[in-house]
C-alpha cells in the first residue's frame, strides 16, 4: 500500500481535529480499509486510528435500548449483547471469522455501508439511531445507497442506539468464498410492529421489505409470508446468483428468521 501518516488519538475531540485535514481517513478495526489500501483502491494521506479511544467502546443497556460504542468490536457485541438482544449478538457472532471479529467494529461497518455487510440490516431493522461526534441520525435517513451514508467528511460514529425488540433474528445465506451474505435478513418484532431489513441483495444496499413487515405485524409467523415474494427489480445479479435467485432467497431467509426469532 501507499505510505501514509498515522495518528492514534485517545479522545473523540482529538480524532475529529486530526480528521479535519484533507485526505485524512478514519481507521476502525481496519478489516476492510487495510485490504482496500493494499489493493491501492484507497490512498489516504493520513490514517486516524479510532482504536485507542475508550469512550467509544462498550455495550450498555439504557432503558429499553442498547447503546453500543462505535469502536466496539464484533466479538464484544457477540458476547455482551447476548442477554439483552440475542438477534444482534447472533449476527455479530457470525461476521467473518474469530480473528476478524476481534478487530472489526460496528462503527466501521456502518460507516463503510458495504451492500453485503451484516450490521446495516440490524440497525435498519431495529429502527436505531447513529450517534456521531456532532448529531444523531435515524437509521431510515442514514443509509443512502451502496457505500453511501449520511455521514459528512470526518464525521465519527461514536455510538449506535438500538431499541431492544421483543423478538429478533438474523439469517444469512453466505457466499461461501467471501462469507459475506449473498442475502441476509434481519427481522425485529416490536410492540408497535415488525421491521424487516434485507442486506446483500440490492444494488442500493440495505433496504426494508415493507410488504413482509405489514404481513408479519398482523401475524408473526412464517405462514404469514406465504404467497409473498420480493421483487427481483434492482437486485444484484452476478456470477454467484441472479437477481431472481436473490429475490427468492429474501423470502426464504425471512421465513427462517421469523421461525428462529427469540
Amino acid at each position: 500500500m501507499y505510505n501514509f501518516e498515522f495518528e492514534q488519538p485517545t479522545t473523540v475531540a482529538d480524532a475529529v481535529k486530526a480528521l479535519s485535514e484533507e485526505d485524512a481517513q478514519a481507521l476502525g478495526g481496519g478489516q476492510t480499509l487495510l485490504p482496500t489500501m493494499k489493493q491501492r483502491l484507497a490512498m489516504p494521506s493520513k490514517l486516524v486510528s479510532l482504536t485507542a479511544i475508550d469512550e467509544i467502546k462498550g455495550v450498555k443497556k439504557d432503558g429499553d435500548q442498547l447503546v453500543i460504542g462505535g469502536g466496539t468490536t464484533h466479538g464484544t457485541v457477540a458476547r455482551e449483547a447476548s442477554a439483552d438482544y440475542p438477534g444482534l449478538a447472533g449476527l455479530a457472532s457470525k461476521i467473518g471469522d474469530p480473528a476478524v471479529r476481534n478487530r472489526g467494529t460496528m462503527g466501521g461497518s456502518l460507516a463503510n455501508n458495504d451492500p453485503s455487510a451484516c450490521y446495516p440490516a440490524a440497525l435498519l431493522a431495529s429502527g436505531g439511531t447513529v450517534v456521531t461526534d456532532r448529531r444523531e441520525i435515524a437509521a431510515d435517513d442514514y443509509f443512502q445507497g451502496m457505500f453511501t451514508t449520511a455521514l459528512e467528511e470526518g464525521e465519527i460514529i461514536t455510538a449506535v442506539k438500538l431499541p431492544i425488540p421483543e423478538k429478533s433474528n438474523y439469517q444469512k445465506f453466505e457466499q461461501p468464498a467471501s462469507r459475506f451474505p449473498l442475502v441476509g435478513v434481519f427481522v425485529a418484532k416490536y410492540a408497535g410492529g415488525v421491521r424487516v431489513a434485507v442486506t446483500g441483495a440490492s444494488n442500493e444496499g440495505v433496504f426494508r421489505w415493507t410488504e413482509a413487515e405489514e404481513a408479519l405485524s398482523g401475524d408473526f409467523s412464517a405462514s404469514a409470508l406465504e404467497g409473498l415474494s420480493a421483487s427481483a427489480e434492482g437486485m444484484i445479479s452476478d456470477i454467484h446468483g441472479s437477481s431472481e435467485y436473490r429475490a427468492h432467497l429474501i423470502g426464504v431467509m425471512t421465513k427462517r428468521a421469523v421461525t428462529a426469532a427469540a
Partner: protein, 161 residues
C-alpha cells in the same frame, strides 16, 4: 519513520516503522520472528494469526503502530519453558495435524485462542472457530483431532477419517 515498542512473547521489542508497516512485517523483519507466516496477505488464510493483548488477530491486517504498547504472542513463545512442545503443539505432532506446515503457526495460535475461551470445545465448535484458518494440504480432520486431543477429549468419536 516512527518508533514503536511492544512486548512480544514477554520480551520488549522496539523498532522504527512506516505508517504502512504491517504488524506481521514488523514481527518477521524487525523482531526476527519468522514463525508467523504471510500466506494470502488478504486476511483470509490465518497463517499470520497472533495474539494481541490476548485476542487472536490477523497480523497482516493490523498496522505495527496499532500494536504500540501491546502484549503480542507468537508461535515462538508457545513452547514450554524447557523448550519442549506445549500441549497443543504436541497434539498436532501426535495426530499428524500438519503436512507442509505452512498454516501450522496460525492453526496453533488459533487453537490456543479457542481453548482459552472454550476449554472443552465440540468438534463442530472447533471447525467453526478455525473457519479463518486455511490449510491447503486439506489436513483439517487431523487438525481438528489435534485440538480435541489438546483439550483432553477423546478423538475416537470424530466424524470423518
Amino acid at each position: 519513520m516512527t518508533s514503536v515498542k511492544m512486548t512480544v512473547n514477554g520480551k520488549s521489542v522496539s523498532g522504527e516503522v512506516e505508517g504502512r508497516t504491517l504488524l506481521v512485517s514488523f514481527l518477521r523483519e524487525q523482531a526476527g520472528l519468522t514463525g508467523t507466516h504471510v500466506g494470502c496477505d488478504t486476511s483470509q488464510c490465518g497463517a499470520c494469526l497472533v495474539h494481541v493483548n490476548g485476542d487472536a488477530v490477523k497480523s497482516c491486517t493490523m498496522l505495527a503502530l496499532e500494536a504500540e504498547g501491546a502484549d503480542v504472542a507468537t508461535i515462538e513463545g508457545q513452547a514450554n519453558a524447557d523448550g519442549s512442545l506445549n500441549v497443543i503443539q504436541q497434539a498436532f505432532q501426535d495426530h499428524h495435524g500438519l503436512q507442509c506446515g505452512f498454516c501450522t503457526p496460525g492453526m496453533v495460535m488459533s487453537a490456543a485462542a479457542l481453548l482459552k475461551e472454550n476449554p472443552k470445545p465440540s468438534e463442530s465448535e472447533i471447525r467453526n472457530y478455525l473457519q479463518g484458518n486455511i490449510c491447503r494440504c486439506t489436513g483439517y480432520h487431523n487438525i481438528v483431532k489435534a485440538v480435541l486431543a489438546a483439550s483432553g477429549q477423546d478423538v475416537g468419536a470424530i466424524a470423518a477419517e
